[in-house]
Amino acid sequence: MAGSTPASPSADAATPPQLSLAAESWRRFRKHKLAVISMFILGALVLAVVAGPFVWRVPINEIDFTAKLQGPSWHHPLGTDDLGQDILARLIYGGRISLSVGLAAMAVALLVGVLIGAMAGMASGRVDAGLMWLTDLFLSLPQLPLLLLLIYLFRDTLKAAFGAEGGVFIMVVAVIGGLRWMPVARLVRAQFFSLREKEFVEAARALGAGRARLVARHILPNAMGPVIVAGTIDVASAIIAESTLSFLGLGFPPDVPTWGRVLFDAKDYLDIAPHWAIFPGAAIFLAVLSINFIGDGLRDALDPRRVI
């Protein structure tokens, strides 16, 4: 027994109650006030767009020219647009699409980015050079013409396979996510390069850990902090990209009131009906901001080095 040389007892005093990793992360997440508030806001937004139509039963496309461009009132809490359509109903309906496009596109971008970045970071040499060449190629592509091309090529096939809305949804998510993975890939690759040389990774290698184990247990978890933050920013840009597509008539059909679409429709009336632009703008702003804060909170909560 090597008990003759015990470690200093300083760390033994005041042992905190032992928590599982998940409980510990949750405890740490709760310390991040903004993240918790943001979670409630995002939760409220999600609840509103999911359950809203059952509560607020005004149809989204009921045209009423006598009530056009009205400000908020009891009858139309968020006012009406130039066709007298109820903005609240439209935002509730459009939020479903905007939020799910944002989250799904982020998932696609993260998945592809992490995959390519990890492969490049682990392989190095020729494979790395090839993958980074591909990344640069994607970065240098003019995105709008490419979007046009992709959508003309695949819209009908996808519509036929998944129905009008489902097909467009898959297409929009794939196109937005597929053109946004490059920064993530570069980030992940850079993280991998620095982590690969760390002594704890070498120690795992010395213990006989295989490549998969090194990546899954040691490198990737330590690389995820900045990736999570990049992912939350991607949600924002995906929501905005979707509205660009809608504006060009390439995304969802013009009668589908996604947040971005409503915002674009409102731009010509900014001086006489500012509420029309303010409410969808606020919805995008709140969603994006709260997702960013949640990302911040997650990064801190999942990093045990940070004392909170």
């Binding site: 027994m1 040389t5 015990p6 704890f200 070498e202 213990l207 247990r217």
Partner: protein
């Protein structure tokens, strides 16, 4: 060297790191990190490996367990040639050879608990069946290195440097290795903690019959723990001898200079310092002949022409010098 077959036998080990450049990533130069190193370690022995930073000691240690692929040379462990092993065999050899790292802050995964860090080896090598078994074994290991079961769920950042190094030692011990490469295990620690960790390593050696390759640049630490000491200069071993012998009677001029630089904790004692001129030459372009001839106080013309071989002198004292054979 010794009567029974040595546990580890390194022959003509070389490691060159290519320097790539140009548009086609051609090799334009190479760093001669380890340039023909040979030594043996007997079972239960501690071989100290000393030299200044950049002389290739850590590279040698990592080559021994194939964390770095050697460029040339052979490494025999228990009569198996480690250099040709592959896949499952290589994994198996890593149960026998383990490593303790220099920086206890970089060598533990910050996201894993102590239980996860120490228990990982058990999972990789399937040395424990159930989670309960893993935990029991980890607690046993922690107690062996002077930590407690209460530390199981803690993260590395909650520990002091010395405690972290103990976690690193427990991790290395988990697979019941025969040889442990200690890569400057105490250089990053406070002096008082250094002594604790050195004592722990000695206790463990006695208890488990471990063999150490102890890499350090602190000569007094090495003297304390080693049976024999090898001195490296610019990728080559210049002298190997029993620790006492080397310290009392250094033969190579580099060893002499190195030892004269060790401070004596007694101000009334004066020691003649041998001051070496210049810096360590660039390992990309090491000097011809004896690597040390550019700074050697006794160099002769032949020293710059041929490299002196490591020759055995009286009772196992090996020196690589034309003049001090």
């Amino acid at each position: 060297m010794n009567a029974p077959a040595p546990l580890l036998s390194v022959r003509g080990l070389k490691k060159y790191f290519p320097i790539k450049g140009g548009i086609f990533s051609r090799e334009i130069d190479r760093v001669h990190a380890v340039d023909g190193v040979s030594f043996d370690i007997a079972e239960g022995e501690t071989l100290g490996l000393v030299g200044e930073s950049g002389c290739g000691k850590s590279t040698t240690g990592r080559c021994v367990m194939r964390l770095i692929e050697p460029s040339e040379g052979e490494i025999w462990f228990q009569n198996r040639n480690v250099t040709v092993l592959d896949g499952e065999e290589l994994r198996a050899i890593r149960r026998d050879i383990q490593i303790i790292f220099q920086d206890p802050f970089a060598s533990l995964n910050p996201r894993h608990t102590v239980a996860g860090i120490v228990g990982e080896a058990l999972l990789i090598h399937r040395l424990a069946k159930t989670r309960r078994d893993v935990e029991d074994r980890v607690v046993e290991l922690l107690e062996t290195v002077g930590l407690q079961a209460g530390h199981l769920r803690r993260f590395p950042h909650e520990f002091s440097g010395g405690q972290r190094q103990r976690i690193g030692i427990a991790r290395a011990l988990a697979v019941k290795p025969k040889l442990i490469v200690c890569d400057e295990p105490v250089s990053a620690l406070d002096v008082s903690v250094q002594a604790q960790v050195i004592n722990l390593l000695e206790d463990l050696q006695e208890k488990f019959g471990l063999t150490y390759l102890f890499i350090a640049h602190d000569l007094s630490v090495v003297e304390h723990i080693s049976n024999r000491v090898a001195v490296m200069y610019l990728g080559r071993i210049v002298e190997i001898a029993r620790a006492r012998d080397l310290y009392d009677n250094p033969r190579h001029p580099y060893t002499e200079a190195l030892l004269s630089a060790v401070p004596i904790p007694d101000p009334s004692l004066k020691r003649t310092r041998i001051k070496l001129e210049g810096d360590v030459p660039n390992p990309i372009n090491p000097p011809t002949g004896c690597h040390f001839h550019t700074r050697c106080p006794i160099a002769e013309p032949r020293c710059s022409e041929t490299a002196p071989p490591l020759k055995q002198g009286a009772d196992g004292h090996w020196v690589a010098c034309h003049l001090r054979g």
